[in-house]
Symmetry: C2
Subunit: 320 residues, 2 copies
């Protein structure tokens, strides 16, 4: 079906070069690929080069592929130029369905036959997004986590008209470029990780809205509590240990009734102006003068430190 | 109000010596305190000594207080013996309200006047739990995370009849023994961290119940994705970086509408036999032959590695 085997891809197109698209560009470059990027924003090219330069030390630390270089990034003046001669396309446009619908159709029209197209969407299904595509069989979701050049996870799932071959090819390709891939066999809004994250986020917003906790307390509760475990042991296996020797069976049989306890609000909060402002000022207080760039650098150092600490452990080996 | 200043406590009573109570015992011993433990289970004493011995290498690695020793643990034959001559009591009984109601009243009756009593409850409020206590003003929640000897967080909150002095004393005491304390000014079922964790857990159970994701996929999604960030940066500050230079304000203004997207089930799932069995067999598959003891040791090594990696960073300094 496709032009080259996943491991032989040497040139990819990246459409959209914001925080996520730029992260993909940096990641693909670090894996030794040629990258052709396209973003219609007027200052996109400069921003992208600065972004890649800022990410490069972290990528160097993790280990660059032979021949990897920021110089292998080119930017294309038009969308067709970006995808005409590549073996894979990653779309990372703003998260609006109307934008995705047209953009994916345009990419589909311009990319060589058989080339797989992955979308970074954080929640839409490909069935919905590929509605205007002529050859939807090659369109898949390839949802990364921010920053895509450091966080291993990519969730891969096709739409109703996506071929099984394209899903398999994309999964293999992402693995070949060092990502940890979860291939889903059905479309679920938000996929897996974002659903988990979103449930927690909605509860956090409720707590701030109701004055139960501040932004700082919520963040502290995570980083001094469950977050220290979730970096290397997921919620299920963590609770498997909460039941003592009886494991998950004892835990569910013992704590099952607490599922009925009023521990979560369960409905999404209304994003009032007051809640919005409280979240914003809470983050500003917590940032305490650190700019977004400071915090991004801090986050990257943190992820690197955690990845280094966990390197060699099961499921957390160094990226190839 | 209380017998000694929080930093001068040298002898504490621990009532209940299971996974959480045993963890407290190990932590207090490592901080150089004398600990008197009481647990009515027939094999509790042996189990507790084995537990402390298993935890000790990790505590040694983190740094023991002067004079700290497992030999400073004694077990008491009765509850009054355990609390009669201590300067603080930590209660870690099973999470059942009827048990807590009677036990806290018994502790309150036996502990010296003014001594603060902390409960490890994971979700009940002290107003409810202290209903049968003669001097409820000294009873506070001091909710730790598993394992209490490694995870820094303790959530402190009083009930309606708890004195502000007792809340302040307990917060200061837990800090003096090296914990990271969040003092809440109101009772919320589940406190902060458990509400966050529970919202995510309920969504995970829904996904397994509906066949959207396996136990393994949920755990992988966490450890390869958001979990790597949450070890050192909470959900709010993480999302502060999701909006690029615009921070949380841009993020909320941009992604606010997705709060209405069907990304969470929002109601707690029914714990059917089928769901229970699926969770249990999923954990067994993921454990792949590793016993609970193996996994506990693995978790402890992981938390230590993450704590080491983050040592010296803001908010993650080594414990005193």
């Amino acid at each position: 079906m496709t032009v080259v085997p996943p491991a032989d891809v040497h040139r990819v197109g990246c459409v959209g070069a914001g925080v996520i698209g730029g992260g993909w560009v940096a990641h693909f470059l670090a894996r030794g690929l040629d990258v052709v990027a396209y973003d219609p924003a007027p200052d996109a090219e400069d921003r992208l080069h600065r972004f890649v330069d800022a990410a490069w030390p972290a990528l160097d630390h993790l280990g660059l592929a032979d021949g990897a270089s920021p110089d292998r990034l080119t930017t294309a003046p038009t969308l067709p130029d970006a995808v005409a001669e590549v073996q894979f396309v990653q779309e990372s446009a703003p998260e609006r369905l109307d934008i995705k619908l047209d953009l994916l159709a345009d990419i589909d029209a311009a990319a060589p036959a058989g080339v797989v197209i992955g979308s970074s969407t954080s929640g839409y299904g490909m069935t919905e997004m590929a509605a205007r595509c002529a050859t939807p069989e090659r369109l898949v979701v390839g949802h990364p986590f921010n920053p895509p050049y450091l966080i291993p996870l990519v969730e891969v799932v096709g739409g109703k008209r996506t071929s099984a071959d394209a899903v398999a090819w994309a999964s293999e390709f992402y693995r070949a470029v060092g990502k940890f891939v979860i291939t889903m066999d059905r479309e679920v809004p938000g996929f897996i990780a974002n659903r988990l994250q979103e449930a927690l986020w909605r509860e956090a917003l409720h707590m701030v809205a109701d004055g139960d906790a501040t932004v700082r307390q919520i963040d502290d509760a995570m980083t001094q509590g469950p977050g220290l475990r979730w970096a290397f042991m997921g919620p299920c296996l963590t609770f498997h240990l909460a039941g003592g020797e009886g494991g998950m069976a004892h835990m569910l049989d013992h704590f099952g009734p607490s599922l009925q306890a009023p521990w979560t609000r369960l409905t999404a909060p209304e994003l009032t102006t007051e809640l919005r402002d409280r979240m914003v000022s809470g983050c500003e207080e917590e940032a305490a003068g650190r700019t977004i760039a400071d915090l991004v650098a801090e986050r990257d150092r943190g992820v690197l430190a955690v990845l280094d600490a966990l390197a060699g452990r099961d499921g957390h080996g160094p990226r190839s």
